[in-house]
Symmetry: C2
Subunit: 261 residues, 2 copies
Amino acid sequence: MNETELRRIDRTVKQWLHMSREFILTKMQQNLKVATKTSRKDLVTNVDKENEKFIINKIRTFAPDSQILGEEGFGDQIKSTKGLVWVVDPIDGTMNFVKQRDHFAIMIALYVDGQGVLGYIYDVMGDELLSGGPDIGVFQNDDPLTAPENINLRDGLVSVSGPMVVHNYRNFQKIADASSGLRIYGSAGIEMIHLLKGEIVAYVSYLKPWDFGAGKILAESLGLKVTTVDGKPLDMLSSDFVMVATVKAQQDILPIIGSNV
Amino acid sequence: MNETELRRIDRTVKQWLHMSREFILTKMQQNLKVATKTSRKDLVTNVDKENEKFIINKIRTFAPDSQILGEEGFGDQIKSTKGLVWVVDPIDGTMNFVKQRDHFAIMIALYVDGQGVLGYIYDVMGDELLSGGPDIGVFQNDDPLTAPENINLRDGLVSVSGPMVVHNYRNFQKIADASSGLRIYGSAGIEMIHLLKGEIVAYVSYLKPWDFGAGKILAESLGLKVTTVDGKPLDMLSSDFVMVATVKAQQDILPIIGSNV
C-alpha cells in the first residue's frame, strides 16, 4: 500500500472516529441499556452495539472487499488474514463507560495480509487520539509522538489486569512488587495510551483481538514489544495473555513469569 | 467562623493554588532532583519541597497564628488541634509526578479546633480543582458538585492501595473481587477526586494526615463515610488504614475486612 493510499485511509478513519465520538457523547445524554455478556463484570450497552454498526457500515462503504472483526459481533467470521482486515472495538472499557462515564476508548486497526498498517485509539472524554503505523509514524492528535524511553521494570510503573494480579496469575503479583508501582485503569485502550506516552513501562492482561489490534500496531511502531506473556508472537485473530512493554521491561518480566510455570 | 470569613479564606487559598500550579508547571520544564524517603517507592523531589515552602509562607503571612502540618516537614510539630490547623501536601502522588508527569495533586485542608472547614484537591495537569467544605458546599472548579449516588460495592468500582491488594492486607483482595472492578491511580488526591465524582464507590489505603486531610472534608461534605478500615473515627493527626466510601459500600466492606482479623 503506497503512502498516498495510506494517508487517504488515515484521513477517512479519523473522520469516522470524530463522528463516532459525537455519536457517543450524544447517546450519553440518554439512558444506557446495559446488559452482561460472559459475567457480571463483562458489560455491553446499546451504545457499544450501535457504534460498532456505525463504524462497520463506514468500512463496508469505503472498502467493500474488507473483512471486519468487531467485538460485538456485527462483523465477519474471519478464517484468513488475507487482504484488508479491520479490527473494531466500538467502546473499549465498557465498565468504565457505564460506571465512570469516562476513561474508555474507541479502537480501530487495519491489517493487510496479516501485517499491521494503521492503528487508532481514541480516548473519547479526553478527546485524545493516538494514531498511525509503521509507515507514517505515531501521532498524539496532530503531533508526532516520541518513542517512550526504554526503561526497566524496577524504574517504571506497570499495569496489570485487576483479577489477574488479585489471583496472582503467572506471578503477576511479583511483577507489581518488582516495579516502581502498580496502576490499573480498566480499559486496554487507556492502558495502551499510558504505555505509548511512556507513563507505564509494561501492560499485561488477557486480551482479545479487538483489545490489542490497534495497540499492537502503534506500540510496535514506537519500538515497544508486543508478545504473549511468554514472549511468543501474537496471533492477531486469537485471544491470549498479552504483554506490551519496553524492551528492557520485557526482559525483566519474562523470567518472573517463567518462574511460576 | 462566619460565611464572609470562610469565603475570604476560600478565595485566598484558590489564588495560592493557581500560583502553586504555575510554579510546578514551570519547574517541570527543568530537571527534577529526585530522592527516596522511607523506601525506593517513596519519592520526594525538589519541587515537592519548594512548593511546600511556597504554600507555608503564604499561610504564615495570611494567618500567622496558624499551625501547619506539611508532608515535607517545613511546617510545625503539632500536638494539639486547637485553633487553625492547616494540612498541606505540596505534591500528592510524587511517583506519578516523576514517572508520568501527570496524575498528581496539590492538597490543602483547613481545620478549626479539630473540625474540617475547607478542603482543596487540585489535579494539576487536568486543571481540575475540587474545593469546599460543610458550610459552603463542594465545587468542581466553579460548578457545584452533586453528591455521588449511594452505590453498593457490588455495583461500583473500588480503589485499593497497590501493595495492600497484592499482599492481601485485611482481605483487600476480597474487596476487589466483590466489587465491579479494581482501579489503581497511584495518588490519594486523584483517587479522592474519582470518589467525589462518583467514579469509584470506595478507596482504601494506608494514609497519612496530609493524604486524607482535604479529602475527608470534601467527602464528608458530600455524605461519604471517612473512617479507619474498621469503621472507627479518624484522628486527623495520625496515620491509619483509611476507608472512604459511600454509605452502602462501607457497610459492604466492613464485614469483609472484619472476617480476616
